[in-house]
Amino acid sequence: MTALDPDRSATPLGADDEAQLVSVDSVLAGGGDGGDGGDTDDDHGGHDEGLPKTITGWLTTTDHKALGVAYVITSMIFLAIGGALAGVIRAELAEPGEQFVSEQLYNGVFTIHGSVMVYLFAVPFGFGLANYLVPLQIGAPDLAFPRLNAFSYWLYVLGGTVMLLGFLADGGAAAFGWFAYPPLSGAGASPGLGADMWIVAIILTGTSGTLTAVNVIATITMLRAPGMTLFRMPIMTWNLLVTSFMVLLAFPVLSGALFMLQLDRLFGFHFYDPTDGGSPILWQHLFWFFGHPEVYIVALPFFGVVTEIFPVFARRPVFGYKGLVLATLTIGALSTSVWAHHMFVTGEVLVVFFALTSALIAVPTGVKVFNWIGSMWGGSISFEAPMKFSIGFLVTFVVGGVTGVILASPTLDFHLSDSYFVVAHFHYVMGGTVIFALFAALYFWWPKVTGKKLSERLATWQFWLLMIGFNVTFFFMHFLGRDGMPRRVPDYEPVENFELWNRIASFGYLILVASVVPFVIAIVKSFRAPRTEGADPWEANSLEWATSSPPPEHNFDWLPPIRSERPVFDLRWINHDDVGNPEVAEAWGDREGVDDNWRPLSVDTATTTAAERAPDEPSSDDDDSGGGQS
């Protein structure tokens, strides 16, 4: 493979010599389904594009694409609910004093806000991406266990519903923060059904996540298409594999810890009760053994998203593929060895050990940032919506990462712990990372799911409103925390500019809400627009772009040869013997007479090229096409 993508000197989404490029659509239109990698002996009951048409269809579907879409929609609904609860928090804090809600209700609001955002929005959105994309990116017809997949989804929906219904319970919803430290979360300090419902909800969603992780790992291990070796998988799939492993490691620990907490609360056990030989510190260890990997469980799928997007819109191959895989594996490993940095202020942990491992995790994360920049460096960058949001992600994530290094230092952590600095850091890392990359993903894969693109003009409005709104809301919280404002308080004294910073943050929230409006309009417009996009509207790289938009049932009627991590790119440039992987032309030649879609690929260039030729015979004009190769 050449080091540089010749597209770098080409027009944003094409090439100087477009006639020489092979389009996926032209190949897909070529015939039947011979050579099919996706034959199965049944069907999904009559929905021709993988998405059900009726309510019953949605309730009973086992199709990974439908469930992927369902996960995304459901998680976005939870995002709206979590966002509305954030509005209550910002309204309350806009002025000193008690404004709208009582202290108890405020505690419930920030608890459910955090819980919804972490457990019901961010992680499940990643599962939605995994559902939809993993089979498509590895050339599989579905996830390995479709019924288990549907079961996981419904556990998640029911778990989330149980959590929100806690507001209606006697005594209100859980009000002990999203990490539920005992003894505050014990029966004495937090009596009532609402707290129990919160615990049940997290057990259900955690079990759902564990089952999904098993499904994803099994699928990636056993259902890859021929030629799709591990080191040809897209980085997105790699990230989802590592995420799934971390889920497998972390979620059962949380579920176990929650069962123990429930036993303490309901049946008088003493796991976390220090008066009877238990230990609240035990909970903290168990929780953060889940809780820190959770940060990366949330983030890694979105790292994968931008790693897919940067190369496409910079017209470059991803910089340092194996380095990115190694960095992902290293993040996965290290993130399970840093949990007690959340417990520095307890004075009960090995501060040096965890400070060291926490600082170390900045290295693979830095490698990723370096590789993302490297993927853009020298490229022919175009700023379509997915690229805009990916760059927004990068900026936000770096800010959050830098403040993370600050918090990894025990001396600074002792000062900043439980302050608004932590809130700011946390929202930059998990909020900013997720929100920007989420919209990047939605704009990028929307044409694949619907066959239509979203409005670029509205995306630009949304991007700038989001960028401004996010930073206005959260940046000044660093100052609040530095100056000593504690988190999780409904009231504060008007000292040290607390009032000013809080007002600015609350104003920023309004801009954030406004940023949603262009997106909603774009979606409505998209639904009313005709389906116009082909299989590969962005001229992208990975296998999901080798099938129609939306994909057919069981995903593929046809698969291209897979000889690198960019099979669609290789196919597109197959007529250029010095671009992409040269083995693709050879593999293409071997399909003659076997693959119904096979034909000499110069047919694609019939409008400008006189003679048909075999794909492995270089064209005479190859030398001056797609300039800039090296």
């Binding site: 050579g35 990698g37 034959d39 199965t40 002996d41 049944d42 999904h44 309730l59 009973t60 579907t61 086992t62 599989a140 017809p141 579905d142 479709p146 019924r147 997949n149 549907a150 079961f151 989804y153 419904w154 556990l155 929906v157 149980v162 059904l193 129990d196 419902m197 049940v200 057990i203 259900l204 079990t207 291990t221 259902l223 890859r224 298409a225 021929p226 030629g227 799709m228 070796t229 591990l230 080191f231 492993f245 490691l249 429930q262 260890h285 168990l286 053994f289 594996l329 490993a333 399970t336 949990w339 007690a340 009960e348 090995l350 050990f353 698969l559 000889r563 071997d590 399909r591 076997v594």
Partner: protein, 126 residues
């Protein structure tokens, strides 16, 4: 399956090293136990992958030069629509929530899960 075996073996080795290190530098027993149990997860999957590879050999998806034309037949049998996942989820929710709400809900949950598990058997070819 060799890359998969090495991948998961690497997970096991990493957690052995970090777990033992943590123990040696004076880490508390909770963390040591968690890290060493993580070793077991990596080792379990690595062992399965190694055994699978030993039994069935190299697959088309492990070969650099394989193409879809190198395999034939049915890739897999995939379920059609099924009512069982949602009803099972309702049953499991009732069982767990019943711990807090009341035993009647847990009993109802057990009944739902048992009946749906039974019906799931007949789901295979529908």
């Amino acid at each position: 399956m060799k890359p998969e075996t090495w991948l998961w073996a690497g997970v096991g080795i990493y957690f052995t090293v970090i777990g033992v290190t943590y123990m040696l530098v004076g880490g508390e027993p909770i963390g040591v136990a968690l890290l060493l149990m993580a070793t077991a997860i990596g080792g379990l999957i690595a062992g399965w992958a190694w055994e699978w590879g030993r039994r069935y050999g190299t697959r088309a998806e492990d070969r650099d030069d394989a193409d879809v034309t190198d395999v034939q037949g049915v890739v897999g049998v995939y379920s059609t629509h099924s009512l069982r996942p949602i009803t099972m989820a309702v049953g499991v929710t009732a069982i767990v929530l019943g711990l807090a709400v009341g035993s009647w809900m847990t009993i109802a949950g057990v009944a739902i899960v048992a009946s749906q598990a039974l019906l799931l058997v007949y789901d295979a070819d529908t």
